[in-house]
């Protein structure tokens, strides 16, 4: 028992010393941080001004890891000029180091390297990172996709179907968010849209919903006939996001959909389309048997100024609460 107490006492002492050293180190680092950042900033400027990004620097040599972090975390005042940072990053051999890590590093070293390269939008590592898109470790796969989307890599245009098929449905939302930023062409989404798998067709319906992309409307038209309601609803949402009158014919077709959620979404999407002159479609939906559809129709009518208000007023007695809310919204569009 006594020995156990002594043993625990020694461990406790060890932990306490370790804790004190950690706190001391952190405090020291915290105090030194502004001085160091100033020093790195000065060095960065010197290298940049001398137009010799490959200049041998004792400061960089001694503090390689910290300087690399400083460069990629956009702490520098010249971070607005990504071109300069990229040039320095490459010429100081940081890029080479990162590419080596992508090949041989541990999974977390790979993701950190990808993150750095993404922050500086360095495209030279594109192929190496593309090779990691199907890595066994999910974090590496996600980091790779994040990078490729950020630099808008053409390499992923033909990979969309594989990306979905080689990952589980649980991370679809992540994939969709990242791929949405990657400006995919309708052609690259064709294989998804034609897939027998509803999950992939739904993904294509979502990814086609990009603002002002008129060329995305024809593939959405085909998807609007899909037997799956959760695909049709995404088609309607995407038409709203595109926001062009060309999509109205699809919405007109879906305004009588058997699912009230889709009809409500049609009403909402019309409100997002610019310069709609004929509001009969919304007026029609404003009399729908389902309250939710009527509400969305009224709220969309509120977005069309005087013409919309006239229709709201027309149904004020039938639907007093919803018309009140719509009127308020109409006069306070920013709300």
């Amino acid at each position: 028992m006594e020995q156990l107490l002594i043993f625990l006492g020694v461990i406790l002492l060890g932990f306490s010393v370790f804790y004190i050293i950690t706190v001391y180190k952190h405090e020291k680092e915290k105090k030194k941080a502004p001085v160091k950042e100033k020093k790195y900033e000065k060095e960065l400027r010197r290298i940049n001004d001398e137009k010799d990004a490959g200049l041998k620097s004792e400061i960089i040599k001694k503090n390689r890891k910290e300087f690399k972090k400083f460069l990629t975390e956009s702490k520098s005042e010249i971070s607005g000029n990504k071109g300069s940072l990229k040039r320095i990053y490459k010429n100081q051999n940081f890029l080479k180091e990162d590419i080596e890590l992508l090949e041989k590093g541990k999974w977390w070293e790979k993701t950190k390297a990808i993150e750095r390269l993404k922050n500086l939008e360095i495209k030279e590592a594109e192929k190496d990172i593309f090779n990691l898109l199907y890595n066994e470790k999910l974090d590496v796969r996600l980091a790779s996709l994040d990078y490729l989307s950020k630099i808008n890599s053409p390499l992923i245009q033909n990979e969309i179907k594989n990306i979905f098929e080689k990952n589980s449905a649980e991370i679809d939302q992540f994939l969709l968010i990242k791929l949405f930023s990657a400006n995919l062409s309708p052609k690259s989404l064709k294989t998804l849209a034609n897939s027998p798998k509803p999950r992939l067709r739904r993904a294509s319906a979502i990814l086609l919903g990009r603002k002002n992309k008129k060329e995305n409307i024809p593939p959405l038209k085909k998807l609007s006939e899909d037997p799956e309601p959760n695909i049709r609803i995404e088609v309607v949402r995407s038409i709203g996001k595109i926001g062009l009158k060309d999509g109205l014919s699809i919405l007109t077709k879906l305004k009588d959909d058997e699912k009230s959620k889709i009809r409500a979404e049609v009403a909402r999407s019309i409100g997002k389309i610019e310069k709609v002159e004929d509001l009969s479609l919304l007026e029609n939906l404003a009399q729908d048997e389902v309250k939710e559809v009527r509400l969305e129709a009224f709220l969309s009518l509120a977005k069309f100024g005087e013409t919309g208000r006239e229709i709201i007023e027309k149904y004020r007695k039938d639907y007093p609460q919803v018309s009140r809310e719509a009127m308020l919204r109409s006069f306070n569009p920013e709300v």
């Binding site: 156990l4 706190v23 919204r329 709300v335």
Partner: protein, 479 residues
């Protein structure tokens, strides 16, 4: 007679010894697991959830705020929530039949109008009188309903929510900026269905709060809340991180937990006949997913922070801990078949038995211990040297865990910048062994007795405003 007493005390001391050994071995395992989890979390990339138009695809979140007589804190709480920079957000305040002027304050400050939106009637709850919408901020909905308690109010909010996820927050809690983005990450980035995610709850007493945001973190001035800071650090960084590593997390704090709306509706929402609705919800979610054989996770994330006020008086703290104990017992006794059941994986065979024997029944051993020692001493059966050594080991071990938690804090979301605060925390970790722990066991023992007496009361909790709220302005177009 003496022989019988001696036999009883002998058996009791053996039980205590076994209890002590198993408990501390579990702590040791948790220590390793939590460290592994924290290291993993540190290594995991921190993706920005979305940028630009892609934010429309981010998972939508409803924030549910049950409010019963909260006129002092509710406006300030909403003001803070409105500042959260999450793209797809809905704030649902449920006025649970307040008898003060909570609804009037909401109407005035938020410029509420009645809206024809309905609750979905998918979960049972007390009748809803009206649903309001704010003219100032279209994300805000107020549901006015008949009083039914916190869980019932949450159910009404849940019945209205149309989002992928929801989070229930107390009116006296503040979610840190960026907290939701961080909390939602496991939902997006895990290769399985994530049904619940818990963040870390920290103590806001004595922190400087401006316009609903914590701008300066410092330790409370009084010893009692400082001890609670230490308790929270241990519970979250050491306990929850450890259980989360093996997907056996049985509790997510009711003050800061994000859940999949659909799954919670599937299990019928919160149970209304318990004071531990948060623990009960997690157990039922685990049960649902395991029974359905779905690959899932209930995660803990150590960086998103929710700040909360903790009790500064013994009386209120006692009531809180009494309620927590009753809540835990209720949750465990509602689902007794899960305890020790291998069907529920490590949760069933490791985590729940731990909570049953050590968290639930622990106070019995801890509270009766000193009396048994006293009796043994008076009867001349106590080896004083052994008892002191035993006490020393218990204190040392407790301290070791506290220092380890502080170390984990140093490597994660370190918030206490002042070195003096860290020294105070170590001081609190030492001092809590002498008086506070015994008192804590007493409160929890009272909780056990309360449970046996079928007590269901929450006990009055005094809530104070963080700061004086400012008038709510319409959202800035550039926001």
């Amino acid at each position: 007679m003496q022989n019988i007493l001696f036999t009883i005390l002998f058996i009791y001391s053996i039980i205590v010894l076994v209890y002590f050994l198993v408990l501390n071995s579990t702590y040791l395992v948790l220590l390793v697991l939590s460290t592994m989890e924290i290291i993993y979390q540190k290594r995991t990339p921190n993706f920005k959830i979305c940028e630009g138009d892609a934010c429309e695809l981010a998972p939508s979140i409803s924030i549910l705020i049950p409010a019963y007589n909260e006129k002092e804190t509710i406006i300030e709480s909403i003001e803070s929530l409105r500042k959260l920079d999450y793209p797809q957000l809905e704030i649902i305040i449920v006025n649970d039949g307040s008898t003060d002027k909570t609804l009037a304050a909401l109407k005035e400050e938020l410029k509420l109008i009645k809206t024809p939106r309905d609750v979905k009637d998918e979960i049972s709850h007390q009748p809803v009188k009206s649903v309001y919408k704010s003219v100032l901020d279209e994300r805000i909905i107020v549901i006015d309903k008949k009083n039914g308690g916190k869980a019932d109010a949450l159910n009404a909010g849940l019945d209205f929510a149309r989002t992928d996820l929801f989070i229930a927050v107390d009116a006296d809690s503040l979610i840190e900026k960026g907290g939701l983005q961080s909390l939602v990450q496991p939902y997006l980035e895990k290769d399985c269905e994530v049904v619940g995610i818990g963040g870390i709850v920290r103590v806001a007493n004595n922190c400087r709060i401006e316009k609903g945001e914590v701008v300066n973190v410092s330790l409370p001035k009084k010893l009692l809340p400082i001890i609670q800071v230490m308790e929270y650090l241990r519970a979250f960084l050491f306990g929850r991180a450890g259980w989360s590593k093996i997907n056996a997390l049985p509790i997510i704090s009711g003050a800061f937990g994000l859940f999949e709306t659909e799954r919670v509706i599937e299990i019928g929402g919160y149970r209304t006949d318990t004071v531990g609705e948060d623990a009960d919800l997690i157990l039922r979610l685990h049960k649902l997913m395991r029974d359905k054989n779905i690959d899932y996770e209930i995660s803990f994330k150590p960086d998103p922070v929710c700040w909360t006020q903790v009790p500064e008086s013994l009386e209120i703290l006692g009531r809180q801990r009494n309620r927590w104990e009753r809540g835990l017992i209720e949750a465990l006794t509602y689902e007794p078949k899960m305890i020790g059941n291998p069907k529920y994986g490590l949760l069933g065979i490791f985590s729940l038995p731990y909570f049953f024997f050590f968290e639930m029944l622990g106070p019995v051993v801890e509270f009766t211990g000193p009396f048994i020692i006293l009796i043994s001493y008076l009867m001349g059966w106590l080896n004083l040297n052994f008892a002191l050594l035993f006490l020393g080991i218990a204190v040392f071990y407790g301290l070791l865990l506290s220092i380890w938690s502080l170390l984990l804090e140093e490597f994660t979301s370190k918030r206490y910048e002042d070195p003096l605060d860290r020294i105070k925390l170590i001081g609190a970790a030492i001092l809590e062994n002498f008086g506070y722990r015994q008192l804590h066991s007493y409160w929890r023992l009272k909780g056990i007795i309360g449970f046996l007496r079928k007590e269901k009361s929450w006990g009055e909790m005094k809530r104070e405003s963080f700061t004086r709220p400012e008038k709510i302005e319409p959202p800035n177009k550039n926001d």
